[in-house]
């Protein structure tokens, strides 16, 4: 390639010296899930600000505190921590260095469970994913011809089961409303099917396979890359099974899924993280907890894309109505966030 001019400006004056930073939970930034989405949000903000974000990965619980402390030492202005696991360490660091803005994703920063945030400088970002999953459950139940829909998770974490809970409630609601008898395979509200990890490996695939063997025609895998295993199992079954994505719109994120993905349960961590970082950069940071809901579009249901003509327009309308009902509070979806 051609060499650039010798005289290099160290950025234009407009680029601020604002430094946004982010720490991942274990799983790393390429987990195709919350770490990745949050990072995308922070990066987007950094791009707009013309700066480079500092990104550090944690591989274990003992890494959180040193990672956060090192970021503080690096002079970060905003630090985003991803996941409930980082909560306690973030609280500690935030109390020790209160002049930095902290964003804590997926946790209320209340480790003594007194209903109060434990550190002033933290802005918790929470997502009532159950609301969106409820819609997905209703949609799936309506779509299912086999009257059987399935779901499974990576590990039994609340951030995982909240999807499965909402989904199951949606199916139940469908059954009530339409006196139908759609069954959820893989989760009964208490126990269910888990792969034991978040790897797209043979274990995840056989779990998907086992659920498919029960005759479901909609499948909701919850937990990062394990959707790939589900997709593969669906392909190999040779049957007409729809896939529901989580976190972001699978249709757009992974083109391989386009023929299979009915919809996705959105959890807009990218967006809220982006907004929080921008607010911090612009001096508008507030530490009020943010709860993503259908109402503020922090969670939602993705477009049906290729499936729009396969799903009854009537069903779609019902789902829309339900969404409104949830937003208006006429209908409540239960989740651990209450």
């Amino acid at each position: 390639g051609a060499a650039p001019e010798e005289t290099e400006e160290s950025g234009d004056g407009a680029a601020s010296d604002f430094l946004p930073c982010i720490v991942s939970d274990f799983g790393g930034f390429d987990d195709k899930s919350f770490n990745q989405l949050s990072k995308e949000g922070v990066e987007k903000a950094a791009d707009e600000l013309g700066v480079t974000a500092k990104e550090v990965e944690s591989n274990a619980e003992t890494d959180y505190a040193p990672n956060l402390e090192n970021l503080v030492a690096q002079g970060c202005n905003t630090i985003a921590s991803v996941g409930f696991n980082l909560s306690a360490a973030t609280v500690d660091v935030a109390n020790a260095n209160p002049d930095i803005d902290y964003i804590l994703i997926d946790d209320a920063a209340d480790n003594d469970f007194d209903g109060e945030k434990d550190a002033e400088a933290i802005k918790p970002l929470l997502y009532d994913t159950a609301q969106a999953a409820f819609l997905a459950g209703y949609l799936a139940a309506g779509y299912s011809e086999a009257d059987k829909v399935g779901t499974f998770g990576g590990e039994e974490f609340p951030t995982v089961t909240i999807f499965m809970d909402g989904f199951t409630q949606g199916v139940d609601y469908y059954n009530e409303e339409n006196s139908a008898d759609v069954e959820v395979v893989g989760w009964d509200g208490e126990t269910g099917s888990f792969t034991g990890g978040f790897d797209a490996n043979p274990a995840a695939k056989t779990v998907a396979q086992n659920i498919i063997d029960q005759g479901v025609d909609v499948l909701l895998p919850v937990g990062g890359p394990i959707y790939q295993s589900a997709l593969q199992a669906i392909k190999e079954s040779g049957e007409d099974i729809a896939l529901i994505g989580t976190d972001s719109d699978l249709f757009e994120k992974d083109p391989d899924t386009q023929d299979y993905v009915l919809t996705s349960i959105l959890k807009s961590m990218d967006l809220s993280a982006y907004e929080a970082v921008m607010a911090s950069a612009n001096g508008e940071f507030d530490t009020e907890a943010y709860i993503g809901t259908l109402e503020n579009e922090g969670v939602g249901l993705a477009d049906l894309h290729n499936f729009s003509d396969k799903v009854d327009a009537e069903l779609v309308a019902e789902v829309d109505e339900l969404e409104q009902a949830i937003i208006s509070g006429d209908l409540t979806v239960e989740s651990y966030l209450e």
Partner: protein, 427 residues
Amino acid sequence: MTAAAEAPLVSDAKRHVAVTSWKAPAIFALFTVLFALLPLFGPRDGVSTFRLVADASAVIRLPDLVLPSNPTAWVCVVLMAAATVAAAARARAHRPQPLWLITAYVVFLLLGFLAWASAGGTLPMIGLLSGALALATPLIFGALGGVIGERVGVVNIAIEAQLLAGAFSAALVGSLTGTPWLGLVAAMLSGLLVSLVLAVFAVTYFVNQIIVGVVLNVLVIGLTTFFYGTLLNPNSDTLNSPELFPRIAVPLLSEIPVIGPVLFDQTVVVYLMYAVVFVVWFGLYRTRWGLRLRAVGEHPQAADTVGISVIATRYANVMLAGAIAGMGGAFYTLVSNPQFGREMTAGAGFIALAALIFGKWDPIRATLAALLFGFATNLQGVLSVIGSPVPSQFMLMLPYVVTLFAVAGLVGRSRPPAASGQPYIKS
């Protein structure tokens, strides 16, 4: 000696007494009692359906096997009790326990348990078995690599590294070249490379083999994760989306009820696995290669004194072992899922290690051990799908608990190749 032969001898024959082992009947009795507690305290209503065909397209169609759950469980308890009595009778009579009795007992136990656990549900037998096979396949490759390594005297703790390196390069090369075949070759080569490092350090530099193995695991996790993060993931369209091997149904064989679709509707990697199991078994016990390999692993100096190069034999076979384990790695990214993920083998190499010890360093037994593990894993998967009241964490524990019991209860002492782990140091 001739004089002695004519003279009155003090009885020439050694006396034999029968050894009475109450182990089998005791274990049988224990499990019978434990199992009887299930239908007793947790009676289940309804029927259990065992589905024996994969889908409507099967040529030979078997009807579903429908059994009333609780009664079936009780019948099995009775049959198990009968087997226990039979075992006890044989033990009293100082006779050994035949394989058929043990097999029968295990079948009753399994059938009873499945009937009880799947009350009201449908148990897809083919899914259960083919899932078990899928879970076992990489373990089998890994365990075979371990068997060869240890049989030639080099402990292969680096199976995990070989699997992971195999999975990584299979994904990378498979994506770059667009053909899974080259991906498979790359997997074998990278497994081979890992074991070449093992050989250099362990054989040439006499470094403790366990150190090298443990360290190689860390090294390969580090390298693959590093390149995944810096190379594969950012360019996942071009570098991390290999094409998978297609399933190929073997004509006729795949039509055999139940086992046909399980064993003979698979990808080429699985067929290769059958071949490798056979070849390793045959080679190990029937060929010059195997004889020399085992000699070097049992008594390297003896092998040396008959002109076999211990060093060369160890190098060649350790590398072969790596290539085989590498194939197992390819299963992850060329059969199971068309993408590499960080540390995606998730400790399978250690399970393979356990399988090869469980299998007493024998290719067939190690394969069976891996299959048992796969079966236990998938059984828990199927049971948790059809609805088990047990918390998921306990279900996920099942295969490990089964292995623990199997090793402690049934296998017991096992003898590794005598020189396994020992460097061969020559002047």
